[in-house]
Symmetry: C2
Subunit: 411 residues, 2 copies
């Protein structure tokens, strides 16, 4: 018998009406002679409300107690969903993270799953029941409740699918799949039928927030096929799996972009072996996330160092660097705000260096000035002015023919 | 070192401000060189809100899933209280029912505590931490979350106190103690310094809703001294314990009363050996709670049977009896509504039969007609017209000198 894991996010279970709708979808899936495991998030804004309550009591909450608090959100959803299924005559049983045997590290607020003891879930599936599991949570070896941090519910679903040897993990969300680029900005954006784990990882890391990279990595590790589709409309989604059996002729599969990028240049840094380490250690110790890094030797004794950060961490970054000015020994800091990062992504890119050149050419033809460049095996990213972002994405989308129908090619 | 268990109910933790106040009280208790365990309920109306959500999904919810749902209420409170304590510099750790090792029967919605594994709580207490436990909940041997039903949080507190060999269990609530009668009706009502378990049981069962009888029974079984006091005002409460070291000269300790009593009389029931069993089986199978029962032989072949129920179960009771009329074979049903029950309570009563006579005399002098009487070792209850209830209580309170100051008598 086939076995699937379905995951419904916070918006999909955001109200009693939505939960009823999800129950009707699960009923349908369970009626197709397959075993169904469902992972759900907390209802809509309920987590925010709990965070607000905690915020009224303390500014520096214990992470263990926040996990205790926030894990109630998913627990409410699993119970309500079980009630909604029972009302439709579908036998279902709900499990918290600890009841589902999800053991994690004891790193509260951001715990990784260590193992899943599937015995009880297996028993209930064999009885023909739909098994509902609270996403985002588990328990540590100390029997403390832990949460998995960002992307936690997606990760729960994929990890459960792997542990239960499911045939597929289905992630239902408020978009209908993975697009060649963000359709809110580029109307020509086209939904992909399938995409590889690595390509999806680049898409996810670059701000196409459909699926958390952690969940994609986990799926890749276990070669678990993922379906990303809408919980609201009936429409084929995007399959994420290892082998791209179709469309392999396309070098560029998608375009990711994000704004709120700020570039900082440190001019006249002494060229010493530990210069870079010192700068980025100081930043990482303060939780500043640095994205693209470019270093340029200006003379024998000095380098210019540029890197990009998010707009929101600018103030703190400047404070940290100014405080370390004596130690680091740079001349001056230059800040460039209101930038954006645009990236083209595709697994075939690695064997075709002409792709980056094509990208630069498209941007040049549209008089878009490139401020930073970063490349990896399957992506090329450029930092440009925020004002040019949408134009750049549209032009690249068109140049790489992403809006055109895919040709089905048999392997 | 002394060890105490404190319990705060839903009103006491009904808001962030209230939780802060409770934290300040716990800080004080923990500063008095004693180990403190705290049991809390769900915040104010949060349980009602969860019940409302479930009610929108189904009219006949699974009890297991309702336990899953409702147990989140206390889990939210324990986490918030731990945060509030940490903010005051008090080291605290919260535990759900299952984490506190509270194992129950798997009778969902109304489970009894079977055992408590105290190891982890003991370890945290030894470290000097305040241990916070979610009331009202536990886990079954199947690892399912259970709730304890009415009076559950009080019972959790008393059971924990027993399992942890605490010196005392303190129940903080919105009243300042146990009164000779309800002060909202009788201004002369006086707070008792102490009362015995059995007297408290009679008071509790008779509608003086300070403390659930289940918790009192548990305390009696383990001879655990209970303090009932206010969480809002600083004022000595009432101690409930086995030996009454003071006030032993008083025969009547308190007066309990409740309205909404309805009397039903079944006239002309055949006088057979199984008549009573049949009637009350039919009622109990339908969840009708019968209080006072009076049977009177009218002739050799027939009896009249009267019993009291609550107003709210009248309609169902009549339906059940009418449906069983052929089988039971009675002539007619008579209903008397708008009645009240008034009871005098005191452990010394058993050795002094004159007390009941004094009660009847007081009522007769005030022209209050007695419709039913029921007696036990430490109480005498009468059913009277609801209109006479407050007068009866006032007159009895005065006649038995309950409003007068207690004399301290050393044993």
């Amino acid at each position: 018998m086939k076995r699937i894991v379905q995951k419904y996010g916070g918006t999909s279970v955001g109200s009693v009406e939505r939960i009823r709708h999800v129950a009707s979808r699960i009923e349908k899936a369970a009626g197709e002679d397959q075993q169904v495991v469902v992972v759900v998030s907390a209802m809509g804004k309920s987590t925010d409300e709990l965070v607000r309550l905690a915020g009224q009591l303390t500014e520096s909450p214990s992470k263990r107690e926040m996990d205790m608090l926030l894990s109630t959100g998913e627990q409410v959803t699993i119970a309500l969903l079980a009630l909604a299924l029972a009302e439709r005559g579908v036998e279902a049983i709900s499990f918290t993270g600890w009841q589902a045997g999800i053991e994690t590290e004891d790193n509260h607020g951001n715990a990784r799953i260590v193992s899943i003891e599937t015995e009880r879930m297996e028993a209930e599936l064999e009885k023909g029941k739909v098994v509902i599991v609270a996403g985002f949570q588990g328990k540590s070896s100390k029997n403390d409740i832990t949460t998995l941090g960002r992307g936690g519910s997606d990760t729960t679903a994929v990890a459960l699918a792997a542990a239960l040897s499911a045939d597929r993990c289905e992630i239902y969300t408020d978009v209908t799949g993975v697009f060649t680029t963000d359709p809110r900005y580029v109307p020509q954006a086209r939904k992909l039928q399938s995409i590889s784990y690595d390509e999806m990882l680049e898409m996810a890391n670059l701000g196409a927030g459909v699926l958390h990279p952690r969940a994609v990595e986990c799926a890749k590790n276990y070669q678990m096929p993922l379906l990303v589709a809408s919980s609201m409309v009936e429409e084929a989604g995007t399959i994420i799996e290892e082998e791209i059996t179709m469309e392999k002729n396309l070098l560029v599969r998608g375009i990711a972009f994000e704004n709120d990028v700020t570039k900082i240049t440190m001019a006249g840094l002494p060229s010493r072996i530990d210069t870079l380490a010192k700068v980025f250690q100081a930043l990482s110790e303060n939780g500043i996330n640095v994205d693209i890094i470019i270093q340029n030797q200006t003379d024998e004794a000095h380098v210019d160092l540029s890197f990009s950060i998010t707009q929101s961490s600018l103030k703190e970054t400047l404070t940290i660097l100014e405080n370390a000015k004596a130690e680091l020994g740079f001349h001056s800091l230059h800040v460039e705000e209101d930038l954006a990062k645009v990236s083209i992504i595709g697994a075939g890119m690695v064997s075709n260096p002409g792709v980056a050149a094509s990208m630069f050419d498209v941007l040049a033809q549209n008089e878009i000035y490139i401020k930073m460049v970063s490349t990896s095996e399957m992506k090329v990213s450029v930092v440009i002015s925020e004002d040019d972002m949408v134009l750049a994405v549209e032009m690249l989308h068109q140049a790489f023919q992403l809006g055109e129908e895919e040709e089905a090619i048999t392997a």
